[in-house]
Symmetry: C2
Subunit: 550 residues, 2 copies
């Protein structure tokens, strides 16, 4: 809902003598610059403005919406101790949006190998920053419009000041529209982004399931819920993705066996659900209450049929690994033993209806093995499958996640129309995902910021429940200095490890903006329907088509 | 043929205190840095290196090939008077590639609105440059391997030095492969990129068809031929594209009429071909001898059916405009009068076989009008049509240019297979083009440099004659300060206006590299065939497939 300001006009100032070519470059500008820049365009250190003296920020949003704006600063001599302060916003009839509803954060640079560019994404929560000479630095403004804010026009200001003496005041105008966004936990837009508690433990250098770890996980959970995430990601075995992020994903269910596993004696397994229970409860307390994904009866993703299970030998007190492949006889007896116990446990907690056995990109052939097994042994477990195999008449999955590449052509969309309609009409989840592909649109550190906002709109366009991604908090060993691990830079995370919790990334704020756009559109549609304004409904649909034409 | 160096390792140096996050940024490095960077990755002012101390440049190429390499320099305090000097290269058995075969140029920055980034592309031919503090600057190296160079390993060095005291020496290794590239004018790869003499006149502020203009056009022609361009772009009417670049495209044929045109009296037209003749001769002398495109019987592009003709009223000495639409009765009589005279003139010059009546993106409906007319009045003129309508049994066009979007899916390629095979087997031209679309791959200033190299490879993959683009030298009024005019930044030009001729852009050098890659591949295939090595032919095809998988 943020108005796009593409500011065109003169470039300023002095002249470079280069063989007669008169080039005026804004790098030659003397003195401090500060300008407003559309949040969809990343402000790299080599950013420039054609209106570095424009000092107006205009926003509009629904009551309850979280809005972002961006101001960029640059100076040929560098800036020391720069900080920004957003005032309260005065509105109609003495209404006030207090300064506490706003925050000012500062973009940090990551060295991104694909482009060889220092790239701003993490939003630092610090009192002030220094800005090296000639390097443009983004100052990120966030306003959480109170849900009870009255509609109308508000005004305030942003004051930038630096201990090195620079000053700039921006006028801030905000129009609160006459509609209210629900709390993020109540957004209808479905967001399934897989969390990684082991990523958090690793990057913060804390022991798994220690007090410090749980404290951090609570902070991350708060961030995730504030961005609309709906699904709790749990692990029911050790390392269900074969360390694809560079480290094992710890299990939340401890498998215990007295001695070494003996074929045919699966009933001697015991399971400790205490971590699982605490994790689910923590996420639910934070507001993520819709669904629990349980990974997984087989290692993900794709044709990999490894299904090893690590268990604690309670006699020796050491870990052992049961080497299994999907569908083999021991795999069958072990899971046949586990699932009823797990079901029982979930029932007792009141979670069974929310729990899904979840699978990552397993193709048809592998999924057939799983369906056959589950139909025979645990038919009432719900199933979530990324990658498109929806099951069959014997058992349909309760969630299908299609890849972007299955939907982005007319042919692909037409081929999946029946499935989308079936899933939607039966109240099941059907969403789409992007991962290593496509190249565009996506949410990598070298993607345009606009793309993170665009993805939710595509779900709307394709009549899907929402969007899925494989990672939000899986971190390379030293994300600040090497944001790339094996996958494209930024593929594994939307947030960054701060001192004692997550820091947002710009991509993450743009994604939230996109989801809020979808919620606002849903509300606008309701209002049109109520008012019998089919003409406006048509225009809303046209707007979605136009915005999502790539 | 340039080896890709993706240099991974440590980022250097000191620490930024930001709420406990230990981030080492190379912006904090003290002192001068200089590193080699893959030419496919643009070195923006915010470029960084993980190996700023690596000092080796390795190249390989065929005798006769023009190779590029890139070195990037940066300093926290700025650099004054930086220059680079490439030595002679010593080869096997006392062979020497002289220093004169090499050149050192420096990237200039353009302010690109779409990304709001200062973006290097133009290559300045200056003795030295200054580099502002903290801003990375590309130094561009070009080596034209002599066609008679002996195969083997050559070695030399690049010396960087600055009046502000910075020094860096790079070791340069070049392997000359045992094959020889033809002169660019003899490359088989077909390049049809439309020139714009009016763009040159405008940006250099010289009068049309003045001595200065012709002198400049000669310089531009030399540049175009050195980059493999094959086709002379001519205008047979005034402003055949309706000033789509921001100014009228002058006619090379002066239409003259005594008084105001009287319907039914087209025989009173006279045509002055002197500019046309001089332009064609100039381009042919430069080495562009393959083909002459003549624009156009209708204004381009697309469904526009305006067909106005400006003519000189020889009685009043002023210009008048005949307002015509495609296919109307006056349009018919006027062109029916012109074409035989034009044909005659071309015959006399020996150019008729090379001349094509050319049309820009006219759809089927409009092209049918043109075909009907030409079949009736001037059936033996060749026809070139961008946008895909190939004609029919009565008359097939001699050149079809398909849009990228018609070929980039399996379905699209399959649908055009018959046409590609027909045109190729009959020795007619069939190529592809990119224009405002696609977003990727393309040659905009915000495109990756790699994409400019990739486009020729796609022609190879799709079995086409080559590549077409609508502009190489159409310039916005002030390209150095506002590289954007209406179309995407960079869409209108590959070169830049220097003091007294064109300056290359990096995109232009990457495009040439891509064409040379295709020529090298053609030669390699011939060598494999001659040696009966089908196994290697298969591997060459695999390499193309792999390189062009987007």
């Amino acid at each position: 809902m943020i108005k796009a300001f593409f500011l065109f006009s003169l470039l300023l100032i002095s002249q470079v003598a280069c063989k007669g070519i008169r080039q005026k470059l804004d790098t030659d500008i003397e003195g401090f610059q500060a300008w407003q820049q559309n949040i969809e365009i990343r402000a790299y250190p080599n950013a420039f403005s054609r209106e570095p003296q424009a000092r107006l920020i205009e926003l509009e949003g629904l009551a309850g919406e979280v809005l972002s704006a961006q101001v960029v600063v640059k100076s040929p001599s560098g800036i020391t101790g720069l900080s920004g302060k957003l005032s309260a916003l005065s509105g109609p009839g003495g209404e006030v949006i207090p300064a506490e509803a706003s925050s000012v954060r500062y973009g940090a640079w990551l060295p991104v190998d694909e482009t060889r560019m220092l790239t701003p994404d993490p939003l630092l929560e610090v009192a002030s920053i220094d800005v090296p000479a000639n390097m443009a630095k983004p100052v990120w403004l966030t306003i959480k419009i109170p849900r009870e804010a009255a509609p109308g026009n508000y005004a305030g200001k942003l004051e930038l000041s630096a201990t090195s003496g620079e000053r700039a005041n921006f006028e801030m105008k905000l129009e609160v529209l006459p509609a209210r966004l629900p709390e993020p936990r109540d957004w209808k837009f479905y967001i399934n982004i897989w969390q990684d508690p082991s990523g958090v433990a690793g990057v913060h250098e804390v022991e798994h399931w220690s007090d410090k770890h749980w404290m951090l996980l609570e902070k991350y959970a708060g961030n995730f819920v504030a961005h609309g995430m709906d699904v709790i990601t749990t692990s029911i075995v050790y390392d269900p993705w074969g360390s694809q992020s560079g480290y094992p994903f710890e299990t939340m269910v401890e498998w215990k066996y007295p001695g070494e596993y003996a074929k045919g004696r699966a009933e001697r397994f015991e399971w400790d659900f205490s971590v699982f229970d605490r994790y689910v409860a923590l996420m639910m307390d934070a507001g993520m209450t819709e669904k629990i994904d349980c990974f997984s009866l087989v290692e993900g993703p794709w044709i990999n049929i490894n299904a090893d299970i690590r268990y604690l030998d309670t006699q020796s007190g050491t870990y052992r690994t049961l080497n299994l492949t999907l569908g083999d006889s021991v795999w069958q007896e072990v899971w046949a033993a586990f699932l009823p116990v797990f079901r029982n446990h979930l029932e007792k907690k009141g979670w069974f209806e929310k729990a899904f056995l979840a699978f990552d990109e397993k193709p048809r052939k592998e999924m057939r093995v799983i369906y056959d097994f589950l139909i025979a042994t645990a038919p009432d477990f719900k199933i979530s499958i990324a990658g498109g195999y929806p099951g069959d008449e014997r058992k349909w999955s309760d969630e299908v996640i299609l890849h972007y590449g299955e939907l982005d052509t007319e042919e692909g969309l037409a081929a999946h129309k029946w499935l989308i309609e079936k899933m939607r009409s039966e109240g099941r989840y059907i969403s789409f995902y992007t991962a290593c592909t496509p190249h565009y649109p996506n949410v990598f550190l070298f993607s345009q910021l606009r793309e993170s906002r665009l993805l939710p709109w595509l779900a709307l366009k394709w009549n899907l429940s929402g969007y899925l991604r494989w990672a939000v908090s899986a971190f390379p060993a030293d994300v600040w200095n090497q944001p790339n691990y094996k996958w494209h830079s930024g593929d594994m995370y939307f947030v960054y490890p701060g001192e004692d919790g997550p820091l947002d990334g710009m991509r993450w704020e743009l994604f939230r903006q996109g989801v809020q756009d979808c919620e606002a559109l849903r509300i606008a549609r309701q209002m049109c329907e109520k008012a019998g304004r089919n003409d406006l409904l048509v225009r809303l649909s046209q707007a979605v088509t136009q915005a999502t034409t790539l």
